[in-house]
């Protein structure tokens, strides 16, 4: 399989994840036998109830935490640490943005770490700040921005590093319903423009259906796994009142109510 592996495809094979507490006495089996392949350029949504292990799985793909058993790879390279080919958009922009840096400085952070020269840095940050629709706000500090704007900064910051894969952990969970709707539309636009692979975590069925090409459903923890994968063959932008949309919504809702 290694020979055939596409360089930016995510392979998850029989992955288990167990947390144990300080004394080592209590073991918490979060994930068991997770299998998944996310193709290059795909928009994949992980949908599951609270606490089932969605963030845990995403953090393992990001390389932030290590698997207990199984195989996790990007192409034919095992994932064992964070890499600049993967980038995470966190749920809370407050927790992940650097409040002491301006919007521009936040977006340029990764470039500065890579010692990209200043003019080049400025060019890139300009581009992505424009892409997420924040032109004119470059010199503001995060605390002066609304929740939606902060998530845009996170997105721009991540895109500026040109990762192959975007990992998004309920990025719109804290936004109000209307801002959320706008951000979802924007994300689809940006994804189509940049052609990144996206793994998007949510527990909102409607959101999953608005965004994902495929939706992986996770079962309730402990020992959660990806129990089903739905293929959403609807064109973008999707319409919540569309009948096929509603059909799928109903189907997934029923799936959870069982």
């Amino acid at each position: 399989m290694a020979l055939l592996a596409k360089p930016k495809t995510i392979y998850i094979e029989n992955v288990n994840k167990t947390f144990s507490d300080t004394s080592g006495a209590n073991v918490h089996d979060v994930l068991r036998d997770v299998n998944l392949v996310v193709k290059e350029g795909e928009f994949f949504v992980l949908l599951g109830p609270s606490g089932c292990g969605k963030s845990t799985l995403l953090n393992m793909i990001a390389g932030f935490i290590s698997k207990t058993e199984g195989r996790l790879a990007l192409g034919d390279e095992d994932i064992d640490k964070p890499g600049s080919d993967r980038a995470m958009v966190f749920q809370s922009a407050d927790a992940s943005l650097f409040p002491w840096l301006t919007v521009r400085e936040n977006v340029e952070f990764g470039l500065r770490m890579k010692k990209v020269p200043k003019t080049e840095r400025n060019r890139i940050s300009d581009e992505f700040i424009r892409l997420v629709g924040l032109s004119g706000h470059e010199d503001k500090f995060p605390k002066a921005l609304s929740g939606g704007m902060k998530q845009r900064v996170q997105l721009a910051r991540v895109l500026a590093n040109d990762p192959a894969i975007l990992l998004m952990d309920e990025p719109f969970g804290a936004l109000d319903a209307m801002t959320r709707r706008t951000m979802q539309k924007e994300l689809i636009r940006i994804w189509r423009q940049t052609n990144k692979t996206v793994v998007f975590v949510t527990h909102d069925i409607q959101e999953a259906l608005l965004l994902g090409e495929r939706i992986g459903i996770m079962s309730i923890g402990p020992n959660s796994r990806i129990s089903d994968v739905y293929d959403v063959r609807l064109p973008y932008p999707r319409d919540v009142a569309d009948s096929r949309f509603l059909e799928l919504l109903q189907a997934i809702e029923n799936h959870f109510e069982e």
Binding site: P82, G83, S84, M88, W100, G110, R157, N161
Partner: protein
């Protein structure tokens, strides 16, 4: 906001009340026991005439400042290290939670031995007084850096060293600053001990030797000077923080502050 509120907020009313209360208290008492504001003011003039009060204030202030700056300079790296490296934290924590109960005063002899009778031992004593509070605050700050910040920096290619420099330290600035500000308080506390030993000048020396000669009014001048020095430094520091460090989330005013709206 009305004029009265402004007056209240300025603290002038507070001082007027304090002065009146003090005066009332002192009227009935022997000035050797409780010199009133007038007595104290006279003592202040007496001590100022040859400029010695101001020199004393200057000298003590320089000592506090030197000890505080050096103490912070030593404590911040230690606190960062303790915050970042669990083994070091686990190893040092019991010792720090033991030694922080030992008053600086108790170390006078040792410091004399190691650092001589001159300025060094006084400054080291003040350093000691600032050390733990800054270490422990810095450590707490490091421990409360959000994991998401570190993770995002790491996935953007920052090395451990750069994470320390560009994420941990900036995030910890408010804690370090609070620690430094509280430590400024303990530095002022330690100045009497520092100037009890082999000092010829300074506010602590003045309080201590006035004690020997039973000059209560001069003791009051000393107390008053210390209070004013501390108060002013604290407000200056707060102001400096809110101006220079505002991007790190530091706001002005006293650490504990009340204002009418």
């Amino acid at each position: 906001m009305t004029f009265y509120k402004k007056l209240l907020n300025s603290g002038v009313v507070t001082w007027i009340i304090v002065l009146i209360g003090w005066q009332l208290l002192s009227v009935g008492s022997n000035p050797d026991f409780l010199p009133g504001p007038v007595h104290t003011f006279r003592g202040m003039i007496e001590l100022s005439q040859d400029g010695s009060l101001f020199r004393y204030i200057g000298v003590s202030f320089a000592r506090v400042l030197a000890g505080w700056v050096l103490g912070c300079a030593a404590a911040i790296p230690v606190g960062l290290l303790m915050g970042r490296v669990t083994v070091i934290r686990t190893l040092t924590e019991p010792f720090i939670n033991f030694i922080r109960f030992i008053p600086p005063l108790a170390f006078i002899t040792l410091f004399l031995l190691w650092f001589g009778i001159g300025e060094t031992s006084k400054i080291v004593l003040i350093m000691y007084a600032t050390l733990f509070i800054v270490i422990l605050n810095t450590m707490t700050g490091v421990l409360s850096v959000e994991e998401d910040k570190v993770r995002s920096a790491r996935s953007m290619g920052a090395s451990e060293w750069k994470i320390l420099l560009h994420v941990i330290i900036p995030s910890t600035v408010p804690y370090i600053f609070t620690g430094m500000r509280l430590a400024m308080g303990t530095s002022f506390m330690a100045i009497i001990g520092a100037e009890m030993v082999a000092a010829n000048e300074g506010v602590g020396f003045m309080i201590w030797s006035s004690r020997l000669y039973f000059k209560t009014d001069w003791i009051f001048v000393g107390l008053f000077s210390l209070g004013v020095m501390g108060f002013v430094t604290d407000r200056l520091l707060g102001w400096f923080g809110s101006v220079a460090l505002s991007r790190y989330g530091i706001v002005g005013g006293a650490v504990f502050r009340g204002k009418l709206k």
